[in-house]
Symmetry: C2
Subunit: 155 residues, 2 copies
Amino acid sequence: MDRAGNIEGIFRDLRRVVHALELYSKDVNARFGLTAPQLWALWELGRDGPLALGALAQALQLHPSTMVGVVDRLEDKGLALREPDPADGRRIRIGLTLKGRALLKQAPHPAQGRLVHGLQAMSDRRVVEIQRALGTLVRVMEAEDLDAQFFFSET
Amino acid sequence: MDRAGNIEGIFRDLRRVVHALELYSKDVNARFGLTAPQLWALWELGRDGPLALGALAQALQLHPSTMVGVVDRLEDKGLALREPDPADGRRIRIGLTLKGRALLKQAPHPAQGRLVHGLQAMSDRRVVEIQRALGTLVRVMEAEDLDAQFFFSET
DNA sequence: CTCCAATCATTTGTGGTCAAATAAATGTGA
DNA sequence: TCACATTTATTTGACCACAAATGATTGGAG
């Protein structure tokens, strides 16, 4: 197995992982009525109390304009609530409703579910290896240095 | 670093990898006027000649209804073309236009960018480790998907 | 040959994501 | 004080992704 083949394989596997994550989100939605971002936001709100929209977006690593829609849907479901921030007229405070708090007690942790079962069944060594590999990927992909566009040799 | 922390970290890193992939798609779009799925579809069409919509969706691991929009946009840009399949009235044949073929010659490989740059700069051992870890992840995640499908198809 | 199930592309609806533009409120410097 | 840049949330527009429903076509069973 040559190097180009390895890199090709990494890309293919990444796409498959992304795909599986999306299906997992749909599955969570079907079982709990919440998509993965919605559940994650709910969990974050339950942890850090009322948050401004920007702070919540930051916590979830999402664009603020993306966050608006997610919060809208949580509000539509009666799980979260927007309130004006008395200290700063620009800000809002997003908090959980009683219903949201109740649901949070029953819902799975965002990083939980059948997917985690597979990881839990692995040896510690395996888990650490995956974590280290992903950490390397994140570092590489989030590296700021650009350029270097045209030097991939295809077979 | 405990085990739960490792699994937490894996999820966090997965989200960041997904995020980076999305930004990469936007970046490709800004540079070449093509999003990652569009570029990938173009590349696949240039490889395997005219394809039916379903076959193309299969090649990209996308839902057929998703593929429709991507092909629409490629057609709007004059890069691809739908033709009725003379042998089967239900099927269409999606092919590249001359313009599409010309663009494909200049466009980067779909699996290009920051990530490839980083991977190429790594040691072989590192690349193999990443590949193996992702392979394990894919097996676990796709196995869970199969379980879910089996579980939900029992009615 | 006819009826009917399977296949294929598409449409519709929901949701996620970003960037860019907008509006309101805040804070700051002259 | 007042003009102006900054911050914050939102809207708009484009794209991606899926599931479910639809319409047309095909192919097989009787």
